[in-house]
Symmetry: C2
Subunit: 306 residues, 2 copies
């Protein structure tokens, strides 16, 4: 089952994708359910009620007719992983613990949905606005002290994430803070795919393309701390909440193609194959079997005052 | 004006403190307003409607009869500052930028209200559960690219914060992540004091007491990055939202008193005067003219499974 968060004629909705492009609107199929995926997961963490409600129903809308919202519009927590693929650790030359995940947070205003424009900072503010293609895990059933072998019972589904980062700000000090949280700098979608269809994350491959050219390609089995470990670790500290999001980290960069020039170095961490996202570009994050999250890039339209 | 977020007979409410202990309930004084301070700030960022609604009203409840909720129950973003007082920078021996604030985030489940128990991790999970008394700033009017000289126009008010930290987890890797986000590890309250009554944060003093004994005392004028600078900096990256919280950083530790023993060293950062919070303790954060945030400490009651 694939679930989308969307807006249609200015109203938020949640729906189940049917066929190629159809959406069964949950507001119609099951009016008692909330119109927000986080709130649905709070009352239906297994999504069984959603599944039952849409059974046999035909599409109310087309994916072409809606605006995609971030899959979870306002999560209680979005955890993101730094340095969680071996190649990315090597290429940055940065230290990280092999035992404990390296974790920071993102806030809701930093994310947009599928097809919505990402905002590149005005070049007077920052130049190094970088893609990071990642697998996102969405929590369903809450839990504390979750063991590795039970971790998948707490996953409602998976999605793609572009964990867009503003490197100058990320490097301003030792905690990443604002550099991982610029307004509309990241994207989350296009939909949630439930575990019965997705299977084991480790069996999938993640690809990031900028203007159609592959820039990242990695087997998700290459995660340093895998999905069960991340759930186990976080649940040592708090009761994971329905709709909480774990963004599992970005793989390394592919080498540039012959004739392509690397970006001008900014800051101390130089990754030869990493390019910036610029106004006019399109960035895609694809996970095989799940789908492709695609976003055009525009310059942040907010007038600069300083 | 002082505003509290509370629960009474199981229902959430927001009220204005009157006299010593009275609460004018906004649900009664102005039924059209939402029953959540963040939502109120979204429609009334200056709090002028709240002020008008309670004028001349007498108390509906007493502070003794309610449960205090975290002042903002679920902020869109809670930004917290690392190493933002000179003495704290010196005592830790850690580097930080004098130009750019060092910022990380906290999630809602990590905080409780005034008088509610803080959870110390079971000692089998972690031993170094530490207080950090801090001034919290609550945003009212949203804004982007806010200049220093306009920053105070965007402040709805101030409160106390105990930015409780689990040092073992904070030190697990380079980003603080989970160590600053254990369930019910921090507290936020007792109330919001509006700027017309509070005045300039720099004119106030912050004191932290553990079991009645002073452990931190600092003039808020000692902030490395002051309140206008923090607002200026964050607003370079995104449009500050009503109810967003900036927790401005913890001052250094006072020396231990004669005969007191320092804690057993845990991790690389040793601060001689810092004690841990243990079950049975009470921790208070006081800001002169604003009030005192007080919390008993209990052991996290969640059964450990691993």
């Amino acid at each position: 089952m694939k679930i989308v968060s969307y807006s249609h004629q200015g109203k938020p909705g949640v729906g189940v994708v049917t066929g190629d492009k159809g959406i069964v609107a949950l507001a119609k199929a099951s009016p008692a359910l909330p119109n927000d995926l986080r709130r649905i997961l709070e009352v239906d963490p297994s999504l069984n009620a959603v599944r039952a409600a849409v059974k046999g129903k035909s599409a109310d809308l087309s994916l072409d007719d809606v605006t995609f919202d971030p899959l979870i519009r306002e999560p209680h927590a979005t955890w993101a992983l730094a340095l969680n693929y071996k190649l990315h650790i090597e290429e940055t030359g940065l230290p990280t613990s092999p035992i404990y995940p390296q974790i920071f947070m993102r806030m809701p205003i930093s994310q947009v949905g599928h097809k919505e424009p990402l905002w590149a900072p005005d070049l007077k503010i920052a130049e190094a606005f970088d893609y990071e293609g990642e697998l996102a895990v969405v929590i369903g059933k809450p839990g504390r002290f979750i063991k590795r072998e039970e971790a998948f019972d707490h996953v409602a589904g998976y999605s793609c994430y572009n964990e867009g980062s503003v490197r100058e700000y990320q490097g301003h000090n030792r905690q990443f803070g604002l550099g991982k949280n610029f307004e509309r700098s990241g994207s989350f979608g296009p939909w949630l795919m439930t575990p019965d269809e997705f299977g084991n994350p480790a069996d999938h491959t993640l690809v990031t393309r900028l203007n159609g050219i592959e820039r990242q390609r990695a087997k998700i089995s290459g995660l340093l701390h895998d999905v069960p470990r991340l759930i186990e670790y976080l649940s040592e500290g708090y009761t994971l909440q329905p709709g909480d999001v774990i963004v599992t980290g970005s793989p390394g960069a592919l080498p540039l193609n012959p004739g392509e020039k690397p970006e001008k170095p900014i800051g101390k961490v130089i990754v030869a194959g990493q390019l910036h996202m610029r106004a006019g570009d399109t960035c895609e994050v694809e996970i095989d079997g799940l789908g492709t999250l695609s976003n055009p890039i525009v310059t942040d339209p907010t007038p600069i005052r300083r």
